[in-house]
Amino acid sequence: MNKLKITSLAIILLLGVASGCKKDKEEVDTIYPTISIEAANAFPKQCSILKRGEKFIFRADLSDNIALGSVSVDIHHNFDQHSHSTEVLGCNMDAKKTPINPLLYIKDFPIPSGQKSYQIAQEIEVPANVDPGDYHFLIRLTDQSGWQTIKGLSIKIQ
């Protein structure tokens, strides 16, 4: 009986402390922004192909529950086949090779402030003299609270 009393006392005390914090606190943002490449005109998608010496439009739907922050694109080679695709679907890979003049493209794009959703449409040029092969197209998206979502796509440059 005594044990029961103590256990219940313990639980009550603990709950008491626990509930002490649940006063009217402003809700904080705990939701990550999202990157969607589901739209028909979104590009690139997993396993898309880019052509050397040509321009393409990077198009993706970005959204957040409160306000978007900024978006950053990183295109780097994956000739050694060891980095960061976040997609379920794999692509056909070329053989491993040593890079000579791989494309390296890093750029961040601001998003007009206060936007909950935004379709980015950014022209990117693939120089003619870069190594063809497997690349990663890494999209990093933040929201105003500092949550970051990463999408890593496997693409090919021909």
């Binding site: 044990k3 103590i6 256990t7 950053s72 050694d80 960061h84 997609e87 890079p99 500092g146 990463i150």
Partner: protein, 797 residues
């Protein structure tokens, strides 16, 4: 404020009451109640030999807590902490015959209670027996069971302490009097401590800067040296350890010897483990499915060795010891993800063996040399500790050209191609303390100083090399008003200086300004220095009246910003973040109020320890909405900023003895943190442990004369979900796990076998730990693990 300090201390010193001393009589007998004559009884610098009736009378012993030592030929040394009060001055000591269990120094739970009752802060004390019983992959995983203690872990063998949600450089680990210095700031680094070599372990929950220096703003873990009994001859013990989850095997062998004045103690520990298992065959790094062969986390194997040697002299008024140790560990990181970075790996190569170590992996070597000297004067004591440490850490990984790094590693680089990061740290430290009695005041004054030189190498850069000097002076007064009331007061002044070395990238980066593109090697860190100083204080009291114990403590603590907070300027690809230090940070300050209430009845005890903590300028790595392409290679900017932070919480502990052989225990912990200002106002702090409760049932039967200390103990841990998160964390669901421990001590022909068996995560629950390094990639915690440990003490005559 200054006036207040002065008033506070004058109150302590001026309240003049005649010192209360008493006559203590110690009766020494065998376990069969036969008086032992000519036994030496040591208490508070007095030594008296027992007379023919087995009695020794020690005169003029001030009321207080002491270690009582009794030595007699043919019997094991007896050592016990006693509290001398007006009511408790007759002590009966039963000596055990000298057998192989000789070295065991009795640190009874009663002694631990005495210490808790005379300490105003909230403390937990455990010993090697606890380590044996709850043996985890590392010391911190073992201590995780204590309420208010958790750990930040990576893999099966590395983890860092987290005391009431504060960790890294906010917790000090003191090893044999000297602050252990490694790379405290990194979540993917372990703590280079051999858990078998620890004697008594004291965990101080809450700010302890006044005693342990600036970094102890969140608490301290004090690893005391193993106590060596004198006049033992040669002896030792062999420990064998096996774990089923990661095919871990290990041994720790101890050899010691002592005569009347000299002793030595040595230990060798070796542990080897394979990739550990999780209760799933597929993990998802982002959405990318990674298949696990035989549920094993690829490349998380490791090896560890620990070498320890301790020798010294113990005289009547002079004690000195020299301690040398080297701990080495080599362990792998999960190959399919290094931090948050998903990787495609050669699975066939990795899966060829579960014990091999391929990239990425780390090697850490920690060398330590500590000298401790204690000189006893008639009414005072002087202690000197000198330490030298070298922490050498290397992290190896395939070269990955992130950002602007060249696609192929240049052949003319002096840095080896697989060396991602290297930290080489030399630490010289010294402590000087003088303790003396002044009427009922037990006073301690002290000086600490340390100098460290940190070098860096590797192709990735996060923090620059630096040199740092810290020093502090303190004064601590423990005023024993009467046997019920003790008051505490402490003051400390600290000064610190940190000097950074310039660092330039070894590769060039592109910057476009308008139409002009510049190509240059970026300067990541400038050569600059900062000075800090701070004045901290602490005040507390204990009131113990029979069954009721009450303690309260308030204090101010401080912490100097660390190198990473002041000068980080690089990309942490483990988190896809660009971490940016802030050279203008102020020293972090914390105010804390602690309360402790305990009530002890014959069959049950309950203790409750709530706390409230306020930081006017908590240093925090804030994830911003921005990306940086020049310095940050397109990664999200994480910037060190300071914000006001409020934290509170409590631990609850209750024991109930159902019948003499059956007891039950409840341990609960709760913590709440909130940022009160800045960009993350309203958010919590990172790595906040979820509320958790542990219910234990222990059966300790007396089976036969040959089997003693037998126990069967079940821990049922319930952890609530953690929905209170801050970027980049994820909400962690609650979980329930069951751990079982059992053990016994078997005596066969004078040989003793201490056997313990543990089943951790008995039901093989799949759960996530909010404070795990791998939490962000949704990696579940280890699956069921059966741990066997056998300890065989021996004696060489």
């Amino acid at each position: 404020m200054k006036k207040w300090y002065a008033l506070f201390f004058s109150c302590f010193l001026a309240s003049y009451v005649l010192a209360q001393s008493t006559e203590v009589s110690v009766y020494v007998s065998t376990t069969q109640q036969t008086a032992v004559k000519s036994a030496k009884v040591f208490l508070n610098q007095s030594t008296v030999v027992t007379d023919a009736t087995g009695t020794a009378v020690l005169k003029n012993i001030p009321l207080g807590n002491y270690v009582l030592t009794v030595q007699a030929t043919g019997y094991a040394d007896y050592e016990k902490r006693v509290q001398i009060t007006a009511a408790n001055k007759h002590i009966h000591v039963k000596l055990k015959p000298e057998i192989t269990e000789l070295k065991t120094v009795e640190i009874s739970s009663n002694a631990q209670n005495i210490r808790k009752n005379s300490e105003a802060r909230s403390i937990e004390v455990v010993d090697q027996r606890f380590v044996q019983q709850h043996l985890g992959g590392s010391l911190m995983q073992t201590l995780d069971r204590l309420p208010g203690i958790s750990n930040i872990g990576i893999g099966s063998g590395q983890s860092k302490p987290l005391i009431r949600g504060l960790g890294f450089n906010r917790v000090v680990v003191v090893d044999k009097g000297i602050k252990h210095e490694g790379q405290q700031w990194g979540a993917d680094h372990g703590l280079e401590i051999d858990q078998f070599a620890a004697g008594e372990i004291e965990v101080i929950k809450g700010p302890s800067s006044f005693l342990y220096g600036a970094d102890a703003i969140g608490g301290a873990i004090n690893l005391k040296p193993v106590r060596i009994a004198m006049n033992q001859g040669l002896g030792g013990s062999v420990n064998l350890i096996g774990k089923s989850n990661n095919d871990h095997y290990g041994t720790s062998i101890n050899l010691f010897g002592s005569n009347k004045k000299w002793f030595f103690d040595s230990r060798i520990t070796y542990q080897s483990y394979a990739d550990y298992r999780v209760p799933t065959d597929t993990v998802y790094v982002y959405d990318f499915a990674v298949g696990l062969r035989q549920n094993r986390l690829r490349n998380t194997a490791g090896r560890e060795t620990g070498l320890h040697f301790n020798t010294g002299y113990v005289g009547e008024h002079f004690k000195t010891s020299l301690y040398a140790s080297n701990s080495f560990a080599k362990s792998g990181f999960f190959a399919n993800a290094h931090g948050l970075e998903p990787r495609r790996v050669d699975q066939a190569l990795h899966d060829r063996s579960n014990r091999d170590l391929l990239s990425p992996y780390q090697r850490v070597n920690h060398f330590k040399l500590i000298s401790r000297t204690e000189i006893s004067h008639p009414t005072s004591k002087t202690e000197l500790e000198l330490g030298f440490q070298r922490n050498f850490r290397q992290e190896f990984n395939h070269y990955v050209n992130h950002g602007y790094m060249p696609p192929v590693y240049p052949s003319n680089m002096a840095i080896p191609q697989h060396l991602e990061r290297e930290y080489d740290k030399f630490i010289y430290s010294g402590n000087l303390r003088h303790s003396f009695m002044f009427q009922q005041h037990q006073l301690q004054v002290g000086l600490n100083a340390d100098y460290q030189d940190n070098g860096i190498s590797g192709w990735s850069f996060l923090i620059p090399g630096f040199k740092q000097f810290n020093t502090g002076v303190f004064m601590y007064d423990k005023y024993v008003v009467n046997h019920q009331l003790i008051l505490h007061g402490a003051l400390r002044y600290d000064y610190g200086h940190i000097q950074f070395e310039r660092y330039d990238d070894w590769f060039t980066s592109e910057r476009k300004e308008g139409n002009i593109t510049t190509i240059e090697r970026l300067t990541r860190a400038a050569s600059f220095s900062r000075d800090f100083n701070s004045f901290v204080w602490s005040a507390g009291m204990n009131y113990n009246s029979g069954k009721l114990g009450f303690k309260v403590n308030i204090g101010k603590s401080f912490r100097m910003p660390i190198a990473k907070e002041l000068a980080a300027n690089g990309v942490n690809y483990h988190y896809f973040s660009y971490e940016k230090g802030n050279a203008n940070l102020n020293a972090e300050v914390a105010y804390q109020a602690d309360l402790g209430i305990s009530y002890t009845e014959k069959k049950w005890t309950v203790s409750f320890s709530p706390f409230y903590n306020y930081f006017p300028n908590y240093i925090y790595l804030n994830p911003t909405p921005h990306h940086d392409y020049y310095y940050g290679a397109g990664n999200q900017v994480f910037e060190y900023t300071q914000s006001r932070v409020m934290r509170y919480g409590a631990e609850l502990k209750a024991n109930y003895q159902l019948i003499p052989s059956l007891s039950t225990e409840f341990l609960g912990e709760y913590l709440y943190s909130e940022q009160l200002s800045g960009n993350k106002k309203g958010f919590t702090l990172p790595f906040s442990p979820a509320p958790s409760a542990l219910i234990n049932l222990t059966w300790s039967p007396k089976i036969s004369d040959k089997l003693h200390n037998s126990y069967l103990s079940i821990d049922y841990r319930l952890t609530a979900p953690q929905n209170n998160i801050v970027p980049p964390e994820k909400k962690t669901p609650g979980y329930q796990i069951v751990n079982v421990q059992m053990g016994t001590t078997l005596s066969l022909n004078k040989q003793v076998f201490e056997l313990s068996v543990q089943a951790q995560n008995l039901l093989n629950a799949k759960y996530l730990n909010h404070t795990s390094f791998y939490r962000l990639i949704e990696l579940p915690e280890a699956s069921r693990n059966i741990i066997l440990s056998l300890k065989m003490p021996f004696k060489i005559n």
